[in-house]
Symmetry: C2
Subunit: 611 residues, 2 copies
Amino acid sequence: MTAPNRATLWGRILADELAKGGLEAVCIAPGSRSTPLTVAFADHPDIDVYSHLDERSAAYFALGRARRTGEPTALVCTSGTAAANFHPAVMEADQARVPLLVLTADRPPELRDSGANQTVDQVKLYGDAVRWYTELPEPEADERKVRSLRTSAARALSETTGVPPGPVHCNCPFRKPLEPIEVPGDVPDSFADTLAAVGRDGPFVETADGTQTLTHDDHQKLLQALEAADRPLIVAGPADPTACSSLEPDAVTDLADRLGVPILADPLSGLRYGPHVEESDTPRTVYGGYDAYIDALPAPDVVLRFGASPTSKRLRHWLQDADARQFLIDPAGAWREATFTATDLLAAEPGTVVEGVLEALDKRERAESAAHASTDDWRAQFDTAERCRWEIRDEALTADALASQPFEGAILASAISNAPDPATVFVSNSMPIRDADRFGRPRGADLTVLANRGASGIDGIASTALGAGSATDDPLVLVTGDLAFYHDSNGLLAVERCDVDATIVLLDNDGGGIFHKLQIEEFDPPFTQQFKTPHGLEFEALGDLYGLAFERVAPADFEAAYRDSLETPGTQVLAVDFDSEASHRRREALADQVSAAVATALEDDAVDRSD
Amino acid sequence: MTAPNRATLWGRILADELAKGGLEAVCIAPGSRSTPLTVAFADHPDIDVYSHLDERSAAYFALGRARRTGEPTALVCTSGTAAANFHPAVMEADQARVPLLVLTADRPPELRDSGANQTVDQVKLYGDAVRWYTELPEPEADERKVRSLRTSAARALSETTGVPPGPVHCNCPFRKPLEPIEVPGDVPDSFADTLAAVGRDGPFVETADGTQTLTHDDHQKLLQALEAADRPLIVAGPADPTACSSLEPDAVTDLADRLGVPILADPLSGLRYGPHVEESDTPRTVYGGYDAYIDALPAPDVVLRFGASPTSKRLRHWLQDADARQFLIDPAGAWREATFTATDLLAAEPGTVVEGVLEALDKRERAESAAHASTDDWRAQFDTAERCRWEIRDEALTADALASQPFEGAILASAISNAPDPATVFVSNSMPIRDADRFGRPRGADLTVLANRGASGIDGIASTALGAGSATDDPLVLVTGDLAFYHDSNGLLAVERCDVDATIVLLDNDGGGIFHKLQIEEFDPPFTQQFKTPHGLEFEALGDLYGLAFERVAPADFEAAYRDSLETPGTQVLAVDFDSEASHRRREALADQVSAAVATALEDDAVDRSD
């Protein structure tokens, strides 16, 4: 490895080392100070470069890609406010444990706080939101420095996928010349053959991350607690990116089946969709409709929780009110449980816990016959409730029902039910993710359902989705509200620039429909002007700007248009207009209807059993 | 002051106190956690509320308003990534000394780091970029707490306009209920009449900021240095917001006239435009064309510098190469001088220094006759060079010349020369500000020329301009490149939502024209794909989306279209297409032409004098 000058050398070594460490993609926003990085990445055969013009969108695109793959994606920007534009996505990556390597170019140290142009304080710019911050030394063809550069690059990459995964920030000062122009003597010929210059065959340094594992004794105790329970439950919240987690859906469902434990699977858990899910009118093990009926069921007595806090507020409150022993399992030992009712934290890889309990179960079953409390009644109640829930949903989804009583949840229901197998379905925050939780029925299809639920912002949605879509050949579906669509309209540029095809479902209710859920609705003003904020935007123009096919479809015609879009190359926006208030009332009415029906059905079941 | 619950009380007290302290405007992005703030501001009769849907644009709008007025503007957002979206504008406000009061709603403290939704670490979110960070206590109708709230509010506002002015961050935790609903006993009846509840007639506490002033002795020494100089110079860089500075253009030009000192006035200095500027073919005192000819002049021996680092790189380098005594005058005592050639820092209000030197001059002139070195020759050289410079520019601006050799600088020249009196002219970073510096001739008109030169990003440009426009009745002109126009396309929503009329001049060269200035141009790839980044966007669609009249005009027709737009209500976008490379070559050729002409003219003058 050699170079015409030290800055170029620095960029090349960094790109070389990151590629050797497995980095496959980088999102770059144009700038001058970052030239050595940009040139090196653009030139590297093993790293895909995605060029973006808005740093905020670039960062979310990288986040989406890393979220989908669980593999680190890098980000490059020039100095100044460009780096601050990365901040929202860095915050989401922190909260959602997404591996992101942020490389910010900087002026050389002597220009800081000197009034120099485009020079700000970038040191620890993202505060505690990053797993590691490091400032690279100034470029120089010095063996120790370059070995440190290789080590830092390898370490930075490794930190992004540590426990927990997350963002890492390397601030990279460069001085001119930044371009690959010859500077005689800057990189001596003798340097080319050094270990520092050449590097190793693989990464310069490798980190073997140990896995936090409980003891056999811990696993046995957990098994005993589950077996002794009358109403045991597994709650799977939003999962960390797949490659960062060892949790196997088959193992979890196997454990749940053998112990008779229902699994309440969040749409983002990785457990609501997939080949491990049995599709039948009598669901088994994996339940998805609980938000509609959970209040009607008795409280659990032992709960095993994976992942982040569940999307369903009703579920969270129901768990809060339960006088149950609640085990949180988290590889990073984080207490992600804001109702403060959990009793035990198991700081271990969820996959190892499941395997460990299964092993303990195998051992015990070989030694003695099963002795656990029967949970048949408990599971039967979930079966009844779940069946009821989806029957009522399906009635609300018929073309006739939709023509007379359209509501946004029907679109989420259809978008998920009719998504191809496999597919990536990205769901925006605010109402879409709540509707996906309520109306997205478990399926045996290999759907990767994603959302930005770390910090739950409505920013960067299109970019995150497109970034996720860029990572695989799976068809990509994005379901978004109009405010989120507006917020990251710049992100749509990636459709063409980064060559991602998508079906974008735009629920257009002209403002913030979610506020109808809140009591502020009763205070107008300021409700309409400051909260609901109708904008009257006709988004067809964004279709024109970014070369997307744009179609407005009636709720009752959505399914057909959606299927068409999925079979059509290119990106289509299917906009469905809703009155958010009416949609909200319909949502409430359906919830009441399910509650009543489930209560009756459970009562009937109880009568049957007592007969 | 009373309220149905403590959160509402908190919002009302805060708004009341800020209004009493003089706050006139707040930019609000919708959200739930910020409800108590939003409701209180929307309800306050003395505070204008600007509602924005993208927090990044909201923050830049507030920045623009505060930059134009020098008065603090407040910002409100909900918790989570919303607050991180403010970061770029906070960074610019820090660097450019713009008073911005950032109010971020937060979850209550017990939910932090608990996995609760939309809950991130907002403590000291903007690091050292703010003048003051404070976390408000949790709302409660407690007298001491509420007095502390009033004091914090008044202090926070005052800190934004301290020395130097800048952003202040108040993190505001709220718990439910957030809406103004009755919570019996939450705010006791007895509380209503307390001093804490009622406040005072004016602000609860007032800060009288002292002014840093040099001694008479210091002023005399400075006067002596200027008088003893053969080639004294005043360099006025980009100014702090007007209301935050005591510098009177008349006083500066008076001083310069009496001492025979040329003033090199940056377009952002507040000195290149205004009634103090004499318009004639023989300019006096205020020079604006120096970027084109400064290299041809002898070095100054004493330099007095106000404001931030000048836009002109040539000027900076020329000053760096001068073996001169350079006095920096800065009220905050900052060494804003990245060439490290300044010798003296005068930490005092520039206005007081000018007045002090004028007083010393008055005293001396009463006591004895003027004894300073004649600077007639020195000034004559500037006169000659300046005349030459604008003659050549004017030849390049004729319709014929533009039809055959269009270049972007011509648009900046025209936009400034033909701007109404008064007007606010906002100029984007990258090439437009450089062209404004080169081609914007000094005028006697009351033009407020602004740019985001703190951190010099190309983000938030439309929003900053529209925010500046919202602050006065002056006509608003924005000159922007296409990348900046794309970057903050969301900001255009403010045209209608915030009712701002503007003439937006879009220099569309399909990508980053500035990179043609850099040596990276010679390396393609990656030049085109990663640096110039042509996007092919047809921005007419943004006109459709945001209800703006959009017109493409040829360079030679620009002036007429521009004048029309200025006389037409509503907002028009005048897009002028350029080939950035050709435009850059023309810019270079004109620079060479001026250099040669100035050298010849100066030689002729020297011959004349020696005759």
